[in-house]
């Protein structure tokens, strides 16, 4: 038998009408099974949406919106809430008119229809996709007051697709083929250079996300999956892959996605996403509303170089750290969920989390990063995030020292 509850429980002043009065849903019939052939969330969850920030960009077409991390649980991001970043808006592609071409340094340049691709053996793997600019607004100090905006350029999805290896083998890569250039079918014609080693290792040409076909805003009908590497390389609406013997140095790997250091020099080809974590609850958009007592702290962690065996959490800005409880499956280059349950005494807190990845790397502080990179590198900000909690349980994005 279960243990006996000993804790003194609160007593109600009087009976709760939510119990003593009959609610309509207890008595009358609800909607039938033909009402929603494709279901949607409860109207009471209408606030759980991707959000954009108008002042960030000139228009909403080449722009970004953010995943509401503080409303999510576990490690899977629902498809409807995966953040979006497009450079020429969402390409609305008729899959019957979509083709994938392989050309360049191959024995046999090929064209595939979607039907052709569905005849290759396929795999199912879970990966996070993080925009290299995620948390980029925070380099100069705390700026946006919500985890959706500071950390919401990430999603974690189960992909089904064909290993890119099989498609390259089909065309026959020539011995001097050392780079690929995936290209999108949207009006930005997105391109990135990827070394052949990565292409043959774990890249996938994905057709499905979280069990169903890709969503239009995530590249329907075809997207390149580049596990652990920055999201911009995961070319959406994939229409062509050229094999070459040198990188292309295209706009998204020169003007953008290069990391300017303090001395004016810039890193190029900073592909891997460094290990990172963030507390999603409590956070500015998800304050503690229940007052002192048992409190669930939770968050997510990920690394482009492996798994996350450990996350540490501090309640006092880093004086003392505690090991969080890791929850749910631990997949390579996937998001991990952690929890830390504690009794809040009602006093102010300074919350931080610190990820350790399977290579032994430990998530640095923002100041450690700034020391190496300066303030202008924009991308790859994986510094430790601090939320200050006040006596009322409200949370604020702060920095500490």
């Amino acid at each position: 038998a279960a243990a006996t509850g000993k804790f003194a429980h609160a007593q109600a002043a009087g009976p709760d009408p939510a119990i003593t009065q009959m609610q309509p849903w207890q008595q009358y019939l609800g909607a039938g099974v033909d009402a929603a052939p494709y279901g949607v969330p409860s109207p009471h969850e209408a606030h759980v949406v991707r959000r954009n920030v108008e002042w960030l960009t000139a228009d909403t077409v080449s722009s970004v919106n953010f995943t509401p991390l503080h409303e999510l649980e576990g490690i899977i991001t629902p498809n409807g809430l995966c953040f979006e970043r497009h450079h020429s808006g969402v390409a609305e592609i008729d899959p019957g008119q979509h083709r994938l071409m392989i050309n360049g340094l191959v024995d046999n340049p090929l064209v595939f229809t979607m039907e052709d691709l569905m005849r290759f053996p396929r795999e199912n793997r879970t990966y996070f996709l993080e925009c290299a600019a995620n948390t980029g607004m925070e380099w100069r100090g705390s700026q946006l007051n919500g985890v959706q905006f500071t950390h919401g350029m990430i999603h974690n999805v189960v992909y089904t697709g064909v290993p890119l290896r099989l498609i390259l083998e089909e065309a026959g890569v020539r011995t001097n083929g050392s780079w690929i250039l995936p290209e999108g079918a949207d009006a930005s014609g997105m391109t990135r250079s990827i070394p052949m080693e990565k292409a043959l290792d774990d890249c996938m040409v994905a057709t499905h996300m979280n069990g169903e076909r890709l969503r239009p805003e995530q590249g329907y009908p075809l997207r390149l999956v580049v596990p652990g590497w920055e999201g911009n390389m995961w070319v959406k609406w994939l229409r062509r892959i050229e094999v070459g013997d040198a990188p292309w140095h295209h706009r998204e790997e020169t003007s953008k996605y290069t990391d300017l250091l303090a001395d004016g020099q810039a890193r190029r080809f900073t592909w891997e996403m460094d290990a990172k974590s963030v507390i999603t609850n409590p956070s500015p958009q998800a304050p503690i509303l229940h007052g002192p007592g048992p409190t669930v702290l939770t968050g997510v962690a990920w690394s482009g170089r492996g798994t996350i065996p450990r996350v540490d959490v501090t309640l006092d800005g880093g004086i003392n750290w505690h090991r969080a409880r890791m929850s749910g499956p631990s997949f390579d280059k996937s998001m991990h969920r952690f929890y830390f349950e504690f009794d809040w005494d009602g006093r102010p807190l300074l919350l931080q989390s610190r990820a350790h990845d399977s290579t032994g790397y430990v998530q640095p502080t923002k100041d450690q990063l700034r020391e190496v990179r300066g303030l202008n590198s924009i991308y790859h900000n994986n510094g430790i995030q601090t939320w200050a909690i006040n006596e009322r349980g409200e949370a604020e994005n702060v920095e500490v020292g």
Partner: protein
């Protein structure tokens, strides 16, 4: 995470051979070594006219940009400043990138609508705006590879393995790691975060730190 999908000796025989016309239609990428560059030419003067017609509404007559659309010229010597201006002239390492990108993605909303000679001319004008050439310059596939970009040597290969990975490792302090901790910066001071669906479109009360807007323009 997965039992690998098996390769097949000799392939699966799926797909079909791409025809030369098909490859020609899609193989539009240009490389720094000139691979992909079509035959053609265009001068600054022609480029200026085309640019005024197709580009200046967003990028400004001199590449200085209208509103928050991207700036295309200037910014020399600012890369090590507090507020660096990264433009074609001040930052981009290769001219081929300009040709490739303008041809591939611009004008915004009418991608791939420019003729090859028009692209040469517009690129020539962008070089002129960035003080790389005189106003009588003509760019062509012949002289393209002679054009060097001022900031090319500032780029180096990702060195995080040496400068960061080894540093950010090891067992960290878990107890009594500091005497005291103070708050040094607060987001609420800026007040630039949208607070509800409606406010997300409102103008912020404070000017967000310079980096913020750039980040998402560049995400």
């Amino acid at each position: 995470q997965e039992n690998p999908a098996p390769s097949r000796e000799g392939g699966f025989g799926l797909g079909r051979t791409a025809l030369p016309e098909e490859i020609a239609a899609w193989d539009i990428d240009i490389r720094p070594d000139g691979q992909g560059l079509p035959v053609g030419s265009g001068d600054v003067y022609t480029g200026e006219e085309l640019y005024i017609d197709y580009c200046s509404a967003c990028h400004g007559d001199f590449g200085e940009a209208v509103g928050r659309w991207p700036v295309l010229a200037g910014g020399f010597g600012t890369l090590d400043d507090e507020d660096p201006h990264k433009t074609i002239g001040s930052y981009w390492p290769y001219l081929s990138t300009v040709w490739d990108y303008v041809h591939r993605a611009m004008p915004y909303g009418a991608a791939q609508s420019l003729e090859d000679d028009e692209v040469y001319a517009i690129v020539a004008y962008l070089m002129y705006l960035n003080n790389m050439v005189d106003d009588d310059f003509e760019l062509s596939n012949e002289n393209f590879l002679e054009m060097a970009m001022p900031n090319e040597d500032a780029f180096f290969m990702d060195d995080r393995a040496a400068t960061e990975l080894t540093v950010f490792a090891g067992e960290p302090c878990m107890e009594n790691c500091a005497e005291s901790i103070e708050i040094t910066a607060r987001a609420t001071v800026l007040n630039v975060t949208p607070e509800s669906e409606e406010e997300a479109t409102a103008t912020p009360e404070a000017t967000p730190a310079a980096a913020a807007a750039e980040v998402v323009e560049t995400a």
